[in-house]
């Protein structure tokens, strides 16, 4: 091979190889092959010594003879595998010949490859190189995963802290604006001043909703979403949600109708969390439907599960954006119809709550227009 086109070899300098063989001639030959690569070599002469030496030396690769006095190479490999599991360095068996049965047993014992005797320098080194490189890549990936997951934890913590600390002041801003804007008990305001206060109220209200969603997400992300199922009437939950949301819907001239509720008397669910999901679906339906729309909420059951559906009159979801719907911070090209705000978190939170109940959530465009969002919760068998 022309040396100029040979791919660049990653540096194996300083990687550690444990060679286990009772035949000192083999050891010498292997050492001679490996030394020029800058590998650090440790040699032992039995399986028992290999197990002891492994713990002290912590090699990146083990070359292990199969037939030795005392415990065999396979036995040694099984012991090491049991002790170190997936962290075990790759083990390559040294076999007298490429005996198919030996190879199979060796791989079953946890080895990754075999090296037939007599050794051929280039082949031996090529095989070792592959496994050492894999080992290095694996270690780097593990390190990366650890770093990423701790960065993610830190992000969630920060998100939680920020959201938490913003909540109280925002709630006060909203609350004080409420005192100013409505009944004049705190003093009369002019129409212009009331308009200003209305703005403060609306903005702080929508900020508070966003902060609440962020906080929900940080709680869910940090694995702290715990549902507390209790026997609850889902029909009651729906009724309450529809009644409360009708107040806001009326401001846009829209109406929410609850119909065809066919549900078991009680379900083992986390009532407040499921109400949060229903609230979110209904709010979205109003948000994305034109003013003066009708939104319908339906519930039905099969022997396996019960399903709640919210039908809107919005423009529907473009098919190529359907996959974005239930993901964190994802917004589709569909915009609210009256300048309402959206964080892109609501549906992601809904999905997590429904999944915590063992259920599923999905959205479909209806042929006649509009979109149906529905979730199903399994019934106990």
């Amino acid at each position: 091979m022309n040396p100029t086109v040979e791919p660049q070899k990653p540096d194996l300098q300083g990687r550690k190889v444990l060679i286990v063989d009772d035949d000192r001639l083999n050891l010498r030959i292997l050492a001679r092959i490996l030394k020029p690569e800058g590998l650090i070599i440790e040699q032992v002469y039995s399986g028992e010594d290999a197990i002891l030496q492994y713990a002290a030396f912590l090699p990146d690769l083990v070359l292990l003879d199969v037939v030795m006095p005392g415990i065999s190479g396979f036995e040694t490999c099984r012991t090491l595998k049991a002790r170190y599991g997936d962290d075990l360095a790759p083990i390559i068996f040294i076999t007298a010949k490429a005996d198919a049965e030996d190879v199979v047993e060796g791989l079953a014992a946890g080895g990754v490859d075999y090296l037939p005797k007599p050794f051929r320098g280039r082949e031996a080194m090529a095989r070792l190189r592959v496994h050492l490189q894999n080992r290095m890549l694996n270690e780097e990936q593990k390190k990366l995963v650890t770093q990423l997951s701790s960065a993610n934890t830190a992000k969630n913590k920060l998100l939680g802290m920020v959201a938490h600390d913003l909540r109280n002041p925002l709630a006060t801003v909203r609350g004080l604006a409420e005192f100013l804007k409505d009944d004049g008990k705190e003093g009369k305001l002019t129409a212009d001043q009331i308009d200003l206060v209305e703005n403060i109220y609306t903005v702080s209200q929508s900020m508070l909703e966003m902060v609440n969603e962020l906080l929900d997400l940080s709680v869910i992300e940090s694995g702290e979403l715990k549902i507390h199922p209790k026997p609850v009437s889902l029909a009651d939950v729906l009724e309450r949600s529809v009644t409360l949301n009708n107040i806001n819907a009326a401001k846009k001239g829209s109406h929410i109708e609850l119909k065809s509720v066919d549900l078991p008397a009680q379900l083992n669910i986390d009532g407040p969390k499921i109400k949060q999901v229903v609230d979110n679906l209904i709010t979205n339906a109003i948000k994305f439907s034109p003013p003066n729309s009708a939104v319908t909420v339906e519930a039905s059951q099969t022997p396996q599960d019960c399903t709640v559906a919210v039908l809107d009159n919005g423009p529907g979801i473009p098919e190529n954006e359907m996959h974005k719907l239930f993901k964190d911070f994802s917004q589709t090209s569909v915009a609210p119809t009256a300048g309402e705000k959206s964080t892109g978190l609501g549906l992601a939170i809904c999905r997590k709550i429904i999944e915590a109940h063992g259920g599923t959530i999905r959205a479909d465009n209806r042929a006649g227009g509009g979109c149906t969002f529905m979730f199903s919760i399994p019934l106990p068998a």
Binding site: H164, R167, L170, T172, L176, E186
Partner: protein
């Protein structure tokens, strides 16, 4: 309902005391005493023996849970409502076991807050002429 009792309002954040003060005034003409931490609350409780305490949980110097314990030591019949920013189940249960009457989320919209306080106070002091003194069951 008209509530004209004496209320000890404890929160380390002045804006919360301001807001809750306005909320309380919608229930009647209560006398409001303000404390900025648990330690102040305990001292003011001993001094004024209020009819009702609103007590934040997370506060410097002495937190709400410790203050609740100390106030209940001074007066085993003390009526204390914990103020929480999030319904942390554990804290709520702990406070209930230490004798807190109820809890109130500080981030509720004004009208919901008024409704909840009206209900709690109505249950304690009777729905009609809410007391200016302790309920009849108190010693």
């Amino acid at each position: 309902m008209k509530f004209n009792g004496k209320v000890l309002l404890t929160d380390d954040e002045a804006h919360i005391r301001k807001f809750l003060g306005l909320v309380l005034k919608r229930l009647g003409s209560p006398v409001i005493i303000e404390a900025a931490n648990g330690q102040e609350a305990v001292a003011l409780y001993a001094q004024h023996s209020p009819d009702l305490v609103l007590m934040d949980v997370n506060m410097p110097v002495l937190d709400g849970v410790q203050a609740l314990t100390q106030i209940r030591k001074i007066d085993p019949e003390a009526l204390v409502i914990m103020l929480t920013s999030l319904t942390n189940r554990q804290t709520v249960e702990q406070c209930a076991s230490l004798g807190a009457l109820d809890y109130l989320r500080k981030d509720l919209p004004r009208d919901e807050m008024i409704a909840q306080l009206t209900q709690i106070i109505g249950e304690c002091f009777g729905p009609e002429d809410a007391a200016t003194t302790k309920p009849a069951t108190a010693p």
